[in-house]
């Protein structure tokens, strides 16, 4: 007669291991997804936001990026490495230029190729109103990002704007 107890124990341990393994990776994916959500909230601007709030938001936006982040946007000829300070300055200029700004990541797909590294592909939609003229602006960009977990926080290490149409 086959001893069924050890087999059941091995199966049980195996199933538990798979569940723990899946849960671990799902958690990292969830963390990244949440990070994107917080980023959109931080990067969006409301009409009533004062310059002080904008300055605070700019500082917070820079913390979503690694000490040095590689940004590739061939369409705009701005492909280079940006420091957190560069990001903060750019964020301040952009948020100051618009009276209202809304950022959304649509169809966000996240992969965890290895522990502490995440890749994400999405369509970033930015809708805004230019300060003064109140002229509307809407842009969609496909983005391909790499994030790294540093000190328990996911930060953008590389952001590439994909040219959907290449002139």
């Amino acid at each position: 007669m086959v001893k069924s107890k050890p087999v059941i124990i091995v199966l049980f341990v195996g199933v538990i291991s798979i569940i723990v393994f899946c849960f671990f990776f799902q958690t990292e994916e969830r963390q990244v997804r949440k990070r994107f959500k917080i980023f959109t909230q931080t990067a969006s601007k409301h009409a009533k936001d004062s310059q002080l709030i904008v300055a605070g938001k700019s500082k917070k936006i820079s913390t979503f990026f690694a000490q040095t982040c590689q940004i590739e946007a061939r369409e705009y000829n701005v492909s280079k490495d940006y420091t957190q300070q560069n990001v903060r300055t750019i964020a301040f200029h952009v948020l100051t230029r618009y009276s209202k700004l809304d950022l959304k990541f649509i169809d966000l797909k996240i992969d965890i190729p290895e522990k502490g590294i995440a890749t994400a592909v999405s369509t970033a939609r930015i809708i805004g109103k230019v300060k003064g003229t109140e002229k509307s602006m809407e842009e969609n960009h496909e983005i391909d990002c790499r994030l790294r977990k540093i000190d328990d926080e996911w930060v953008f290490e590389k952001v590439e704007l994909i040219d959907v149409l290449k002139k």
């Binding site: 649509i106 169809d107 999405s122 369509t123 496909e142 959907v164 149409l165």
Partner: protein
């Protein structure tokens, strides 16, 4: 895609079109970004292997002038010849009354073509 399609107009796209047919020049197509929810509506102006260029707002494919009756008041676009790569198509919108820099056009992979509007 104005004047052919109005900005903000609701369109229904048939997603199986290119399962049955190969894309043809002057087809209007829906092009996807990442995922399937955000799309552009553009017209195919050149196919893979062809050479496309704009001279003073007029389309030339493989050096031959192509009539585009759907374009009105074209801006003076001048684009040097571009070779359309394998598996790609070259797309442009019908609204050419703006400078080239302000118009989204260019080549893209056929894998990004979601389908064609029903009307």
């Amino acid at each position: 895609m104005e004047p052919t399609y109005k900005d903000g107009q609701l369109n229904i796209c048939f997603r199986l079109t290119y399962l049955f047919y190969e894309p043809k020049r002057f087809d209007v197509v829906a092009v996807r970004y990442a995922g399937n929810r955000v799309m552009l509506l553009k017209r195919i102006v050149a196919l893979e292997g062809e050479q496309v260029e704009f001279r003073d707002g007029t389309l030339f494919v493989d050096g031959q002038l192509e009539e585009e009756p759907y374009v009105s008041n074209p801006y003076h676009w001048n684009l040097p010849p571009r070779h359309v790569g394998k598996g790609n198509v070259y797309l442009a919108g019908d609204n050419r009354s703006v400078p080239m820099e302000r118009h989204d056009f260019g080549q893209t992979s056929m894998n990004r073509l979601i389908g064609a509007p029903l009307w």
